[in-house]
Amino acid sequence: MRLLYLDVVLRVIGIAYLAEFAAQVARDAGEGALAQKVELGGKVLILVLAVPIVGALVQLVLGVGL
């Protein structure tokens, strides 16, 4: 089982930063609704990327019962 999700975490952080930045720019341009869509898109992307990590965690927690 691959445990160090370094690539995933780095990607997640890049996406988070970009989405946050884009949403901020949109908000600065007075497009609050667009900003919210960008944020939503970023969250969905992060969740999709984090699925294997969550899967591994759930597997560990469920498999723990010695």
């Binding site: 780095l10 988070a16 984090a50 965690l57 560990l60 723990v64 010695l66």
Partner: protein, 388 residues
């Protein structure tokens, strides 16, 4: 009456045999020991010792009954303290080396997560970056949980090993106890010990370790979910600790009572037996009690060697996971300390929770080890002072 006479005759013949053997060859320990020694060497204990030796992966000097006897015959300990200390140091260095990788990974993930938090502080709203931090926290939790899980498995494995060692050493020691004349102690010990060690192993395996694992899982998930689960986690850890403490107290009490009762009865039984033999068996009675004493005395050596091997075996079994646990605790505490100034609170809290749970795991293992060690000591000391 006829039966009694036949028994007496047979006994007298047997004693004459012993007497003849005694006259033929001086009673050296080796000469008296050889049959019993062969039996001990071919018992399951020897093959079990090989298994224990495998656990230490050659870092500690190998356990061998023959070697211990040879060492004791020369009046010294079986193993030099420097060899043992060197072995422990090698084990510790190996653990440090292998766990430094975990430390690096934890630190890398923690620093990355902290970086995101610092970057996100520039924005007025932090919607997406919360998700990002959570993902990084999850990755870290997976790493840490896996390490914890492996440590728990190691502890469970070593408790199983200790039970196995006790179960393979007890028949040998009880037989040898009969051999030194501690019949009463032998009769008391065997069932008591088997029950006690199995109860301890069951408690540690099915109550303490699961409680500690559940506690740490609750802590980790609680940090993630944002609602407070640390109360339940602490309670579970306390349950684990209390169970360990209660088992230790009960066990020590039980062992003390039985350990005190056995030898007294043995002394009475043997002394009256010796007196009866001296008084009521004409001519050879005195010979019988003297020969018996010689045989009992040399069986002592073997019994002590087996007991010493048992003590060392328990120490060997405990020291491997204990060192691993100590190194892991150090890794988690170090990671928490380094990340505390830069990282998020949740990560630091989780790392500290892991370290605490690992410490409790080490305590449970230590308590189980002490119980097994004590029972070995009692077995080791049993049968002493019967003839004194």
């Amino acid at each position: 009456m006829k039966v009694l006479a036949a028994g007496l005759l047979a006994g007298a013949l047997l004693l004459l045999g012993i007497g003849a053997a005694r006259a033929a060859a001086p009673l050296t320990p080796a000469a008296t020991l050889s049959p019993a020694y062969g039996a001990v060497q071919s018992s399951p204990l020897s093959s079990y010792l090989q298994e224990v030796n495998k656990e230490t992966s050659g870092s500690l000097p190998g356990l061998d009954i023959g070697q211990v006897i040879a060492g004791m015959a020369h009046g010294g300990g079986p193993y030099s303290p420097s060899a043992l200390a060197g072995g422990v140091w090698r084990l510790l260095a190996g653990d440090l080396l292998s766990e430094s990788r975990l430390l690096g990974q934890l630190l890398a993930l923690g620093v990355i997560a902290a970086l995101l938090e610092l970057l996100a502080e520039g924005f007025e709203r932090q919607e997406v970056s919360r998700f990002g931090t959570a993902a990084a926290y999850l990755a870290l939790a997976v790493l840490a949980l896996d390490a914890f899980y492996q440590a728990a498995q190691l502890v469970e494995h070593s408790v199983g090993l200790m039970v196995g060692l006790m179960q393979s050493i007890l028949p040998v020691v009880t037989t040898l106890l009969v051999g030194v004349g501690a019949v009463m102690t032998a009769g008391l010990f065997h069932p008591l010990m088997i029950v006690a060690i199995n109860v301890i192993a069951m408690l540690v395996r099915s109550l303490v370790i699961p409680a500690l694992i559940a506690g740490v899982v609750l802590d980790v998930i609680g940090q993630l979910a944002g609602f407070k689960l640390s109360g339940i986690a602490t309670l579970l850890r306390q349950v684990g600790l209390w169970t360990t403490g209660a088992a230790l107290t009960l066990f020590v009490g039980l062992i003390a009572v039985y350990g005190a009762a056995g030898p007294v009865m043995d002394g009475v039984a043997l002394r009256s037996g010796k007196f009866l033999a001296n008084t009521f068996i004409p001519v050879v009675g005195k010979l019988f009690s003297d020969a018996a004493e010689a045989v009992f005395g040399s069986t002592y050596l073997l019994k002590d060697a087996v007991g010493l091997v048992g003590l060392l075996g328990v120490a060997y079994i405990v020291v491997v996971p204990l060192l691993k646990l100590l190194v892991l605790i150090l890794v988690f505490r170090l990671a928490a300390a380094v990340l505390a100034p830069i990282g998020g609170k949740s990560i630091v809290d989780a790392l500290n929770a892991f370290a605490t749970s690992l410490a409790h795991l080490a305590m449970a293992l230590g308590a189980a080890g002490i119980m097994f060690f004590l029972s070995m000591t009692i077995v080791f000391a049993a049968g002493r002072g019967i003839w004194g």
